[in-house]
C-alpha cells in the first residue's frame, strides 16, 4: 500500500498543488472549491501504485485538513470525489471516525462506491456489517477482488449467507458469480 509520503514525492513537482495545500492548511474552507477541481487543476494521469494524479492530490488535500472536515468533503462530493475520499481513508490519521462515510457508500446502488467502501479501511467495520457488504457485492456483481482481506475475514456465517443466496438463485434458474462460488467452496472446506 502506498503512503502519503510516497504520494507527496510523486506530486512534488506540482507548484500549483503545493500552493493549494498551503492555502488549505491556513484556510480549510478553501477545500470546497479546490477538491472538486482536482482533475482540472492537477491532471488525471496515472501514477505508480494504481493511483491517478487527481486521486493522489485529493488525498494530500484531505491530509492538509482538520480530520473533522473530511466528512463534509465527502458529503458534498460527486462520485469521483467520494471515491477519492474512500481510497484515501486508510492513509489518513482518522481512526474510526470516518466509518459513517463507508456506511454511506455501502447504502448506495453505485457499484463503484460499494467496491471502494470495501478497501483496507473496511477493517473498521464489524463482522455483521462487513458480511452484509460482501453479500451485497455478490448481489450487485461487484468483483470480490475489490474486498480487502476477503479470505482472512470470510467466516462460517458468511458462508451460510452465501449458501442461502445460492439456493435462492438456483431456485430461480440462476447462478452465483464464479468468484462467489469459489469463495463458498473454499469456506466449505474443513
Amino acid at each position: 500500500m502506498t503512503t502519503l509520503d510516497l504520494l507527496r514525492r510523486e506530486l512534488g513537482g506540482d507548484d500549483r498543488l503545493a500552493g493549494d495545500l498551503r492555502r488549505v492548511a491556513e484556510d480549510p474552507a478553501a477545500v470546497a472549491a479546490l477538491f472538486p477541481a482536482a482533475g482540472r487543476r492537477y491532471g488525471r494521469g496515472p501514477l505508480a501504485n494504481g493511483w491517478t494524479t487527481d486521486e493522489a492530490a485529493r488525498a494530500l488535500l484531505l491530509a492538509a485538513l482538520p480530520p473533522e472536515e473530511i466528512r463534509e468533503v465527502y458529503r458534498y462530493g460527486d462520485t469521483n470525489e467520494k471515491l477519492a475520499v474512500l481510497k484515501a481513508l486508510p492513509l489518513l490519521p482518522v481512526g474510526d471516525s470516518c466509518v459513517p462515510l463507508v456506511q454511506d457508500a455501502l447504502r448506495t446502488n453505485d457499484t463503484r462506491l460499494v467496491a471502494a467502501a470495501l478497501g483496507p479501511y473496511a477493517d473498521h467495520l464489524g463482522p455483521p456489517e462487513w458480511r452484509q457488504a460482501v453479500l451485497k457485492c455478490v448481489f450487485m456483481g461487484v468483483p470480490l477482488a475489490a474486498v480487502h482481506r476477503l479470505t482472512e475475514r470470510a467466516d462460517h456465517e458468511l458462508a451460510a449467507m452465501l449458501a442461502a443466496f445460492a439456493h435462492e438463485r438456483h431456485a430461480a434458474g440462476r447462478d452465483l458469480p464464479p468468484d462467489a462460488v469459489a469463495l463458498l467452496d473454499q469456506l466449505k472446506e474443513p
Partner: protein, 283 residues
C-alpha cells in the same frame, strides 16, 4: 444519427426511456436542475437533488452508454420561497463540480422581485465560476418574460455567447436571436413546440446557434422528440449536416464553453446492451 439532448430531466424518467433513447441515437444529455411537481421546503431537499444530478443519474445514464452532465441552480419558482433561498449559499460547492457545465435553469417564472434578485445573483455566480448560463423563459407572459430576461442578461455583463435562452417559440425567437444568445426550443407533445413548427423556425432562421431539446420531465413529454425533430428536418429537405449541427454540434459548442464537457470514450450504442441489464443492484 447522433443526438445530444441539451435539456432533459432524467431524474423523472425510467430506465425504459434511457434504453429507447440510446437505441434511437441519444449519446449525451444535460440535465438542468429545476423544480419537481411537489414544491420543496428546505435547502437539504435541494442538495440531495443536486447530489443525484452529479452522482446517481450519471451512473444510471452510463449503463446505457449515455453521457450525462448537469446544470445547477435555484429555479425561479422556488426562489420565491424564503425557506428555499439559503440554498444559494450552497451553490458554489456544486458549481465547482466536473460534471456541472452551466448555471441553470435560472430566469423567471412569475417575474417577482424575489426572482429578479435570485436571477441576477446567479448570473453573477456564472461569471464567478466561468460557466455558461441556461435561462428558462416563463410559460405565462412569455414575450415580456423573454425581453426582460434579455435585459437582465445585458445588465449582468455576461457574454451573450455564453447564454442559452430556452423554451422559445415563434413569438420570442427574434428578440433572442437579435440579442446574440443561443436559442433553445423544447419540443413537447402538445404545448411548447412541435417538430413541424420547429422545422418552420429553422427554415426561417437557419441552424446557427439553435438548440433543440425534449425538456422531458415528470409531465406529459417525450424524450424522443429530439429524434422526431431530426427526422422532420430530413423530411423537409435539410441535409444530414444541418441535422448534426442542430442536434449535436450546437449543444456541444455551447456547453463546451464550460471547459468541463467530457465526451471522451462514449461507447457505441449497439454494444452497450449486449446481455447487460442495468447495474443498479436490483438484479
Amino acid at each position: 444519427m447522433r443526438i445530444f439532448d441539451p435539456h432533459i430531466h432524467m431524474t423523472s424518467r425510467t430506465t425504459d426511456d434511457y434504453q429507447r433513447m440510446a437505441a434511437a441515437g441519444v449519446r449525451a444529455v444535460v440535465e438542468p436542475a429545476f423544480w419537481l411537481g411537489q414544491p420543496r421546503t428546505n435547502p437539504g431537499s435541494f442538495t440531495d437533488y443536486f447530489d443525484s444530478l452529479i452522482g446517481w443519474e450519471p451512473f444510471r445514464a452510463g449503463q446505457f452508454g449515455i453521457r450525462h452532465h448537469a446544470t445547477i441552480a435555484l429555479n425561479p419558482k422556488e426562489a420565491n420561497d424564503p425557506r428555499c433561498r439559503p440554498v444559494l449559499d450552497l451553490l458554489p460547492r456544486y458549481l465547482a463540480k466536473d460534471g456541472v457545465v452551466a448555471v441553470g435553469e435560472i430566469g423567471y417564472d412569475s417575474m417577482t422581485p424575489a426572482e429578479d434578485e435570485v436571477f441576477a445573483a446567479q448570473l453573477a455566480l456564472a461569471l464567478d465560476h466561468d460557466l455558461p448560463a441556461l435561462i428558462h423563459t416563463p410559460h405565462r407572459d412569455k414575450a415580456r418574460g423573454t425581453t426582460r430576461s434579455l435585459d437582465v442578461v445585458k445588465e449582468s455583463g455576461i457574454d451573450p455567447g455564453r447564454v442559452l435562452l430556452d423554451h422559445l417559440n415563434e413569438v420570442t425567437v427574434e428578440a433572442a436571436r437579435d440579442a446574440g444568445v443561443w436559442i433553445g426550443f423544447s419540443i413537447y407533445p402538445d404545448t411548447k413546440m412541435s417538430p413541424d413548427r420547429m422545422v418552420a423556425i429553422l427554415r426561417g432562421y437557419g441552424p446557427e446557434r439553435v438548440l433543440v431539446n425534449s425538456a422531458a420531465d415528470w409531465g406529459r413529454s417525450d424524450p424522443l422528440l429530439t429524434v422526431r425533430t431530426a427526422e422532420a428536418m430530413l423530411a423537409a429537405g435539410f441535409g444530414p449536416d444541418d441535422v448534426d449541427r442542430v442536434l449535436w454540434h450546437n449543444p456541444v459548442e455551447f456547453y463546451a464553453q464550460s471547459g468541463r464537457l467530457d465526451l471522451s470514450d462514449i461507447t457505441g450504442v449497439e454494444s452497450v446492451f449486449a446481455g447487460n441489464s442495468i447495474l443498479r443492484g436490483g438484479s
